[in-house]
């Protein structure tokens, strides 16, 4: 089972420069753990204390996972997960 994960510029140092990588899992949480095993360090940039970091947006296909079930969102073969750092400031 493979899910495409699209990686933003700022996190490509974890993926050897790759714009997209594939990973596996039944939920977003499992997918991120699987990603961590092949790209160590990336999980900490996405997850903090068991939930998604506030200034990281993660989308399942066309939906922000915050409007789905967050890290518990089910994912399946053929899905695309996109990570985009929020553009924000003061």
């Amino acid at each position: 089972m493979a899910i495409e994960v699209r990686i933003p510029t700022i996190l490509r140092n974890y993926t050897g420069g790759a714009k997209a990588v594939s990973a596996e899992g039944a939920t977003l949480e499992e997918l991120i753990s699987n990603l961590e095993s092949s790209h160590p360090g990336i999980k900490e940039r996405l997850v903090d204390q068991g939930s998604l970091r506030r200034f990281v947006n993660v989308y399942l296909n066309d939906e922000d996972v915050r409007f789905l079930s967050g890290l518990g969102t089910p994912v399946s073969d053929g899905d695309t997960v996109t990570v985009l750092p929020a553009v924000a400031g003061g």
């Binding site: 510029t9 947006n57 750092p85 553009v87 924000a88 400031g89 003061g90």
Partner: protein, 133 residues
């Protein structure tokens, strides 16, 4: 150095003025580092001290740029009561190392401050702005 057309500068400033006293924000997309396409974004925070792109709007715009082989050449926002210099929050959330971060200050009604920076690994570097006719 940022080279940008006066027309795009005027659009950024007009957006900042229109949303004052809230902060305005947006992107200029382009290719090869040349800013071309003006994309005003909604400030989901609607705040005079904070801005954040709406996550769904950002997704659509980023995908569109991807499809068109564009990148976010400029990411702009306004400060409405302080100078056009990146705040601590701006630095901590800066996530596009290749972008020119443009700041506009609307604190003065008659004069506009328009400045550009690179923000990489928490380090702010101001750069010259060249206004093209």
């Amino acid at each position: 150095m940022l080279s940008i057309s006066q027309e795009l500068v005027d659009k950024i400033v007009a957006h900042a003025r229109a949303d004052h006293p809230d902060e305005a924000c947006g992107v200029i997309a382009g290719r090869g580092g040349v800013p071309e396409r003006f994309i005003p974004m909604e400030n989901a925070e609607r705040s005079p001290t904070f801005y954040r792109f709406d996550s769904m709007e950002q997704f659509r715009v980023w995908r569109e740029m991807d499809d068109r082989d564009e990148e976010p050449v400029v990411i702009y926002h306004s400060h409405t009561a302080t100078e056009a210099y990146p705040s601590r929050t701006d630095v901590s959330y800066a996530s596009e190392p290749d972008a020119h971060y443009v700041l506009v200050s609307t604190r003065d009604e008659n004069e506009v401050e328009f400045r550009s920076y690179r923000i990489v690994d928490g380090v702010i570097t101001e750069e010259e702005v060249r206004f093209l006719p």
